[in-house]
């Protein structure tokens, strides 16, 4: 059994290197789901299609999530629908951007 809250906390260690805000607070993580025992499915997005940091961030999410207890397999899907929007950011992220 995967503790999804633990995964979410771990993903807060993955930062967008340009903006300096973690992927959870940026609202890039759309879905965390244990699809079967030990298999974690992550659906995420990027702030912009073609984001040059795409590979780095999705691989870092994949690696970091795999460190959580009970995770045997991680599948990361980068999706563009729905597109990312500022409303998906946390209050902390908005404050950091002075938004």
């Amino acid at each position: 059994m995967i503790d999804l809250d633990e995964v979410r906390e771990k993903l807060k260690e993955v930062y967008d290197p340009e903006i300096g805000i973690n992927v959870v607070d940026l609202g890039l993580i759309y879905k965390l789901e244990e699809v079967e025992e030990g298999t974690l499915h992550i659906e995420m997005t990027m702030t912009t299609p073609g984001c040059p940091a795409h590979d780095n961030i999705s691989q870092a999410v994949e690696w970091t999530a795999s460190l959580a207890a009970g995770v045997g397999l991680v599948k990361v899907d980068v999706v563009w629908d729905p597109p990312w929007s500022p409303e998906k950011m946390s209050e902390a992220a908005r404050a950091q951007l002075h938004f």
Binding site: T47, A53, A60, V61, W63, V78
Partner: protein
Amino acid sequence: MQTLARTPAGGITTSQSPPFSLPIRYMLLGMVGFLVFAVDLVIQSSGLNGHNTFLPSIVALTHLLTLGSLLAFVMGAVYQLSTVAFLVPIKTVTVAKWNFWLYAISIVGLIISMMVWWVMGLMIFGTLAVIAIYLYSLIIIWSVMATNLRGAMQWFVLSAHVYLIVAVSLALLLIISFMVPGFLANVYQPLLLSHIIFAAGGFFTFLAMGFSFKLLPMFTLSHGFSTSRQKWTLILLHIALWAFIAGIWLNDRSALWVAGIIGIAAFINHLFDVRGIMKKRLRKNTEAPIYAVLIAAYSGGFAFLLLFVQLGVALQIAGWQEIVTFYLMGWITLTVMGFAYKIIPFLIWNERFRKKIGKEKTPMIADLLHPNRAKPVLIGFLAGLILLTVCSLMEWIPGTVIGTLMIGASIAVFAIQLLLVVNLKKVGKER
């Protein structure tokens, strides 16, 4: 434990970046070019005024900026950014890599030939440089044509590269006219002006505007801005460019006026677009390099205004050298400098830290070169440019010398800052 990262079935692939060694070799050449240009500019500062434009040393200095610095850097940036903006890979990375050596050798030879005015050298190295630029342009056109994304940005970038081909073809005709006495002698001036217009107003302007539509939102995290004006800027800019060409070849002053007015309209329209992007930005703390890009766009419009005043009020073409210098420095060079401060740290971070992200503590991109460090450099550059332009128009030599020295010093610091981020000891070992 297994991991699997993938894009959704039928989804678009967004990461098409070429190997690091492709863009960085061109950008490195550009950075070294900027440094050499800065030194040469300082050395020649006492002799710079609108009357010396055709001295071999000044022709060489101009091309050290345009070919040795700006174009070299921009070629690297375009190889990287085309994949980001259009979500397509570069068609032939191997040819693009080898073409670098052709380009580098040819422009070094060409600029030295200009300095000593060796016409055979101009012919040999000029031809090689034209081949290298044709190859580069065709690779980009081929790559960008393959995109599924439709919009004005694609046409800006395609137009830019078509105009680059035209600009360097005209340059070759100019060189042939030096070799063959009498050949094209009666159209030398329109040929030269067309070469400048297609290069500065065509290639660099279309490219700077086109990529601004992607880079400004990306670096300011802007979302939800309108893109409806972009196509009008594109159309206005094409009309302005061809009106200039018509005015020059037909010696028709009214066509030049029309070109000036439409050019101003194109920049105003572009500035509305830029303002729209900035209004919707999420990163409210605007960094110095982004301010530089904004000021550069205003400078471009102001240069067209100066040209219009020159043609309409002073009723003469003489004096275009100062305006072209202002356009080249204030619009094109400042735009490249602003974006370079953002692109180079990102590229280096991506190459050196991407595999460590999530596994160990990695620096932020701003830790490699904080944008605040660009501020004094860009202010110095702008102050120098304003001084140079005003004093050149007033023909006050001490002012032009001080302005030139300020520009030279600023560009030198800019190039050194970027070269320190790149770190030549490390970069040679990277893929």
